[in-house]
Amino acid sequence: MSNTLMLGAVAYDPKVVTIWEGFRTWFAERGLDFDFILYSNYEAQVAGHFAGQYDVAWNSPLAWIQAERVANERGQAAQAIAMRDTDQDLTSVIVVRADSAIQTIDDLRGKTVGVGAGDSPQATLIPLNHLADKGLVPDTDFNVRQFDVLVGKHGDHIGGERDAARALMAGEIDAACMIDGNHLLFSQEGTLPGGQTRILDRTAPYDHCCFTILDDAPEALISQFVELLMGMSFDDPEVRPLLELEGLKAWRTGRVSGFAQLNEACDRFGYLDGFLAEMRN
C-alpha cells in the first residue's frame, strides 16, 4: 500500500499546477505525503476515480453528482469531505439590458437567453432549471444560446460567462446567465457598464466544488488530509498565498445539501444519461 495520498484535479488553467504544487510542499512539511494527477476534463477525472487512479477528487459540483450517481449504481458510497467557504451559498443571476422591455420571467418567452458552457452548473444548468421551475422550458419557450469555452471543465473557466455578458451588451441575446460573483466582476471591470443592465431574477443559493472520496479511500491519510486542511489559517503568511490562489479564506466541512438544484437540473434535462451509460460499460 502506498503511503501517498493522491488527488485528482482538472487543469482548467495553468495556475492549477502552482496551486497543487504549493499544497504538496505545504503538506509534505507537515508529514503528509501528497501528490496529484491532473485531468483535462471532469468526466475523465470521475472515471479515473472509479478506476482507482487516485484517492480524493477536487470535484466541480457536476462532477460530485456524477461521482455520487456512479457510486450509487455500483453499490458504493461517495462523500463530500471538505469545500471552500466560497463554495457555499452561491447564487446565479439572469441579467437583461436596463432599457429592455423584459420585466418578468414570463417576458422571456420567445427570446434568446445566453448561457455559459453546456456543462456549467452556475451559468447553464442551474439557471435553466430555475427558469423551468418557473414554467419556461428551455429550447421550447425560449431559445438557448450557449457560449462554450472549454467544455469538460464544468464552467470553471470564466470565458463563457464573459462572452455571454458581451453578447448581451452587443444586443445579440436578450438575457444572460452568470454566477453572482461574476456579475459583480463584470460590472466592476466594465464588461457590463454601470447602470446599463438589470438583474431580472436570481436563483436560490447552491454550493460549488468539493473534495470527494469513495468508500475505499485510505482512512488514516484522509483524516490527516482533512485535519491539515481545516488547520489552514488565512492568518498564516506561509499558507495565505495558496488560499488566495485557490480563492478561499477557510476550508469548511463538506455538505451535500447545496447540490439539490443541480441534481434536479440533471434529472430534468437528462444531462448525465450519456455519461452514466458510458460508465456502465
Partner: protein
C-alpha cells in the same frame, strides 16, 4: 449593530470602498447593516462579502477576520528619513523586496534575491546628500555646450581629439556598465545608494553622448580601440565584488580620469572639447566622492577590507602585466592635442603637459588611498601598480 447608507452608489462604481471603511472601524463579529437604492445591492454585497471572508445575510454583514489576518506578522520596513534613528536596517529582510522604505510589508511577500543586502557593504551616510547634489547638477547636452563654437586647429590635431574621444567613450561605457550591474543587486531598502548609482549610470550615458557628438563634429569615423585598453577595462567588468569593483573603478579609475578631464579642460585646442571635459569632470568628481565615502565607512567596520583592496590592485596589475597598457595612439594624441600644432616647441610642451598629467594622476591616487586609511608608503606602492590605461 452599525449602519451604512450607500444611497444610490453601487458596487460597479466603488461602493465597496465605503463598506470597507465602515468595517475597518468595527471588531470581528460585529454586524453592519447596509442600505441603498442600487437594484443590484444585495447580489453584489453578498458576492463581495463571500470573496472577502465576511458572512452576509440579506444586506447585513458580520465582519470576518481575514482582512486583519492578512496584516498579522507584517513588518515596518525601516523609516523614510535615512537620518532617523533605526531608519536603515543593517540586514533588511529579503521579503521587504521592492517595498518603499517606511512601508508596512505583508508577511507572505515572496523573498527577493538581492545579493547586496548588508548595510556595511553598500551604505554611506552621504548617499542622500550626494544624490541630491547629482540630481541638481544634471545638465542638458543640447544647451550646456555651444556646439557651434569655432574649431580652427589643424586637421592632425582634430584627428588627435577624435582619438582621445574614442578612448573616452570606451572607458565611459565601462563606467556605465559596472555600476548598472551592481544597481540590480542592491537591496532597494538602500534607496539613496540605488538612486545614486542610477544617476551615475545616467551621467555616463550623457558623457558617451557628448564625447560621440564632439568626435563626429568634423569626422564620420572614430579612432582606434586597442586590445590592451579593452583588456584593462574587462578586468573591471569581471570583478564580482562590489567593494573591490568600486575601489578599482571609482576611487582609482575615475579618480585618474578626473585628472585626465581636467587636463582636457585646460589643454584642449577648442572650446567645445574643453566644455565637454569640464562638465563631465563635475559628474566624475561625485562618483569618486561616493566611492570614497562608502568604502571609508566599510573599511571602518570591516578591518579585513584594506588587504582585500590591496590584493585587488596587485591581482589586476599581474593580469595586465603582459598587455600594452595605454595605447600609443592615445598617448601621442594627448601630446599633440595639448601641443595644438606640429611646432617643435609646442610638441615639447605637450609632452611635458602629459608627463605632468601622469604625475597628477599618481599623486591624486595616493591622496585618495590615504583617505581610505592606507599608509603613505602603501599608497605610493599601490598607486604605482594601477593600470597604465588610466581607468
Amino acid at each position: 449593530m452599525h449602519h451604512l447608507d450607500l444611497g444610490k452608489l453601487g458596487f460597479e462604481r466603488g461602493a465597496h470602498l465605503l463598506v470597507k471603511q465602515a468595517l475597518r472601524e468595527m471588531a470581528v463579529g460585529d454586524e453592519l447593516h447596509v442600505s441603498g437604492s442600487d437594484p443590484s445591492l444585495d447580489v453584489h454585497l453578498q458576492a463581495w462579502c463571500r470573496a472577502k471572508g465576511h458572512a452576509c445575510t440579506d444586506t447585513t454583514i458580520t465582519k470576518g477576520s481575514a482582512e486583519e489576518g492578512r496584516w498579522r506578522g507584517s513588518e515596518q520596513a525601516g523609516l523614510t528619513d535615512p537620518s532617523a534613528e533605526g531608519a536603515v536596517a543593517d540586514h533588511p529582510s529579503a521579503r521587504w523586496g521592492l517595498a518603499a522604505r517606511g512601508a508596512r510589508v505583508e508577511a507572505s511577500t515572496p523573498p527577493f534575491n538581492f545579493v547586496l543586502q548588508d548595510k556595511e557593504v553598500v551604505w554611506t551616510e552621504d548617499a542622500a546628500k550626494l544624490y541630491a547634489r547629482a540630481a541638481a547638477a544634471q545638465w542638458d547636452p543640447a544647451t550646456a555646450i555651444d556646439w557651434d563654437a569655432p574649431i580652427t586647429h589643424p586637421e592632425p590635431v582634430e584627428d588627435a581629439v577624435v582619438q582621445v574621444m574614442t578612448y573616452l567613450i570606451e572607458n565611459e561605457t565601462a563606467a556605465l556598465l559596472v555600476p548598472a550591474r551592481f544597481l540590480s543587486q542592491i537591496h532597494p531598502h538602500f534607496r539613496e545608494v540605488m538612486q545614486l548609482l542610477a544617476i551615475q549610470a545616467a551621467d555616463e550615458a550623457r558623457h558617451i553622448e557628448v564625447f560621440t557628438r564632439r568626435a563626429t563634429l568634423k569626422r564620420t569615423h572614430l579612432g582606434l580601440s586597442t586590445a590592451g585598453g579593452q583588456a584593462s577595462l574587462k578586468t573591471l567588468l569581471d570583478e564580482p565584488d562590489f567593494a573591490l569593483s568600486t575601489f578599482l573603478l571609482s576611487v582609482l579609475g575615475e579618480g585618474s580620469f578626473l585628472s585626465l578631464l581636467w587636463f582636457l579642460r585646460d589643454h584642449a585646442p577648442d572650446p567645445i572639447t574643453r566644455a565637454v571635459a569640464s562638465l563631465s569632470a563635475q559628474d566624475e568628481a561625485r562618483h569618486v566622492a561616493f566611492g570614497l565615502s562608502h568604502l571609508a565607512r566599510h573599511a571602518e567596520l570591516d578591518p579585513g577590507l584594506h588587504s582585500r583592496l590591496a590584493n585587488a590592485i596587485t591581482r589586476r596589475h599581474d593580469s595586465l602585466a603582459q598587455t600594452a597598457g595605454l595605447n600609443e595612439e592615445v598617448f601621442d594624441a594627448l601630446v599633440l592635442l595639448a601641443a595644438g600644432s606640429w611646432d617643435h616647441d609646442a610638441i615639447a610642451q605637450g609632452w611635458d603637459a602629459v608627463a605632468k598629467l601622469k604625475d597628477d594622476m599618481h599623486s591624486g591616487r595616493i591622496q585618495r588611498l590615504e583617505r581610505l586609511g592606507f599608509s603613505p608608503e602603501e599608497s605610493r606602492t599601490l598607486s604605482a601598480l594601477h593600470t597604465r590605461n588610466f581607468m
